[in-house]
């Protein structure tokens, strides 16, 4: 496990084909691996490196820069409490404090049952809905302590509504039918688009006629 399944490998190849250079697919493939395993495993990074044609160390080098990639397993539900300025002004830190006490863990840690990881995060673009938090990147606005507790209770009881397990982001994927692709090739194989040249030339000629 941890290398891509057959199905995901096909998906990975489809994603790579959307970029002029395969390496550009590194981050999307890290997300795909995290969706498969819940975190970004060593073997997955090796598999990604084989698919995009770089070394496993380069994949790790890229992945380790980004906060969302978890190189070790985290809880099924990652709870991100925003404490940046707009949320801080309206109780974001108090909410984090409550979350720590309620879950019995410090931020950055995972509950013993492996259900919850709590994080104190930077601005999540919900500033007018402070204090805000996310569970697996799904938003919860103007969260009171009581609402936080009932959210946790629901998740414990398996009432997870729209929230997928950690690792899954958008559940709708972009898909381009091969016949619909305009022109995705390496930059070296690209030249001035014909429509651009023709249309500008025609307009310039027309302008010349008008002015002459």
């Amino acid at each position: 496990m941890s290398r891509f399944t057959r199905e995901n490998e096909l998906l990975a190849r489809e994603i790579i084909a959307r970029y002029p250079r395969p390496k550009s697919a590194t981050i999307p493939l890290c997300h795909l691996a995290q969706e498969q395993d819940g975190f970004l495993a060593e073997d997955a990074m090796r598999h990604i490196s084989e698919l995009v044609g770089i070394t496993a160390a380069e994949v790790r080098g890229t992945a380790s820069f980004y906060e969302m990639f978890k190189l070790k397993p985290v809880g099924k539900y990652l709870i991100n409490v925003c404490t940046n300025i707009s949320c801080q002004l309206l109780g974001g830190e108090e909410l984090l404090e409550h979350a720590e006490q309620s879950l019995g863990i410090r931020s950055g840690s995972t509950t013993e049952d492996g259900l919850f990881t709590l994080e104190d995060v930077e601005c999540i673009a919900a500033c007018t809905e402070a204090p805000a938090c996310q569970v697996n990147y799904r938003y919860f606005n103007t969260v009171s302590n009581e609402q936080f507790d009932s959210l946790v209770e629901d998740l414990r009881a398996g009432r997870n509504g729209e929230i997928p397990d950690h690792g899954t982001l958008g559940r709708v994927r972009q898909h381009i039918e091969p016949g619909q692709v305009a022109n995705i090739t390496a930059p070296e194989q690209q030249s001035e688009p014909g429509w651009f040249r023709d249309r500008n030339t025609a307009a310039a000629a027309e302008q010349g006629e008008v002015s002459s």
Binding site: F65, N84, I85, S86, E122, C123, Y139, V172, H175, G194
Partner: protein
Amino acid sequence: MNATPHIVTSRWETPDAHTLEGYQRSGSYSGYEGIRAALNIAPSAVLEQVRQATVLGRGGAGFPAGTKWGFCPPGVWPRYIVVNGDESEPGTYKDRVLMERDPHQLIEGCLIAAYAIGAAQVFLYVRGEMAHAQERIAAALNEAYANNLVGKNILGTDFSVDIVLHWGAGAYIVGEETALIESLEGNRGMPRLKPPYFPAAKGLYMAPTIVNNVETLANLPWLMCHGVAAYKATGSEASPGTRLVAVSGHVNTPGVFEVAQGTTTYRELFYSEQYGGGIRNGNELKMFIPGGASAPWFFPEQVDLPLEGRTVGAAGSMLGSGAIVVMDDTTDAVKACLRIVRFFARESCGKCSPCREGTTWEEKILRRIMDGHGRPSDLDLLLDIADNISPGPYPVASHPEAGLEAVPFPPRQTTICPLGPSSVAPITSALRRFRHEFEAKITKRDLIPLSVEPVGGRS
């Protein structure tokens, strides 16, 4: 009171605006009529219209999009467009709403920009944490491809371009355009040195690349449908059109509002019933951030300034990303300052030492002042460190009571990108006005009376 303009928000109340049918049925223009109008004229004519309209960039720097597009060197191919949907400047909440509620509007904006500059491909870079926006854009792109609105021979013409959705993975610095390009190439998101790496000349894969903010592109379909004169009828001469602003913090009715650029004042945004509805509990305004965490703070004296780049810049701050954070007189200035500095310390990519080391020191010093372990020399030390990141007088608002003039924007920098210098904004802003609050925390035993309730030992 001015009627609320609706250039980019006209479908926000339409529940199915995210679908192709909803986009074409509702709103202040008919969906995909903008690209049809563009396709009837030459690409060079579209570029000229955008230039004449003075569509200012909505990401932070406020640079005119038409001028930026014109920087692509002639005869160098391919050209790429990268959409900056990595919204993460603290206080900023507008691009996410645009992407979630009206994704086709953004896609159509991408098409118009791609047509105007002759782009080979468009990459729509959406912030990793925005799962719902990713879903909405993916679904909209699939629909657009299936209906021949994106891809090969768009609307039955010779115009063809691909738009690819790309997700980030959590790094504020990737909002900087060269870092965004690095990230899109599969690398750590660290900014490139400018010169030589101006994206319009050497961008994605070293090819000419235009990086535009989501809101900037979302303006284009309306512009193509209604024309330059109609666009310029809203706002001021130098800053036409509208801005999306998020008014957050201590106002009664926080929200994301589309307002006329250049003419609307901060006072209207804070006190009018239409917008912020006044400061909470009838409290007094203590300070506000006029354009995101990177912007130097403003105070009650600046509240009548209009949302105009030049004016705000001359007054010592920036319009930035339309993130307006209101703080009332119960706010602890040191605590607010520490929180913003801590953000920059956490998000520094580590490439330049003045930023990597400096932001960390700033946080450490502010933390100990906050915790009651501050030293009398700490305030000068803070300013000294700040000066190493951004030398010379730092942009700051005037302080009439103390007879201090404003220092205009922008700051100087010893770093590749503005992240490090941005960390200085809250420090110089807070120290100039509220030095006594810092000193009180260092020298007095009790907390200053301005503090809000202590919060469980955390700050």
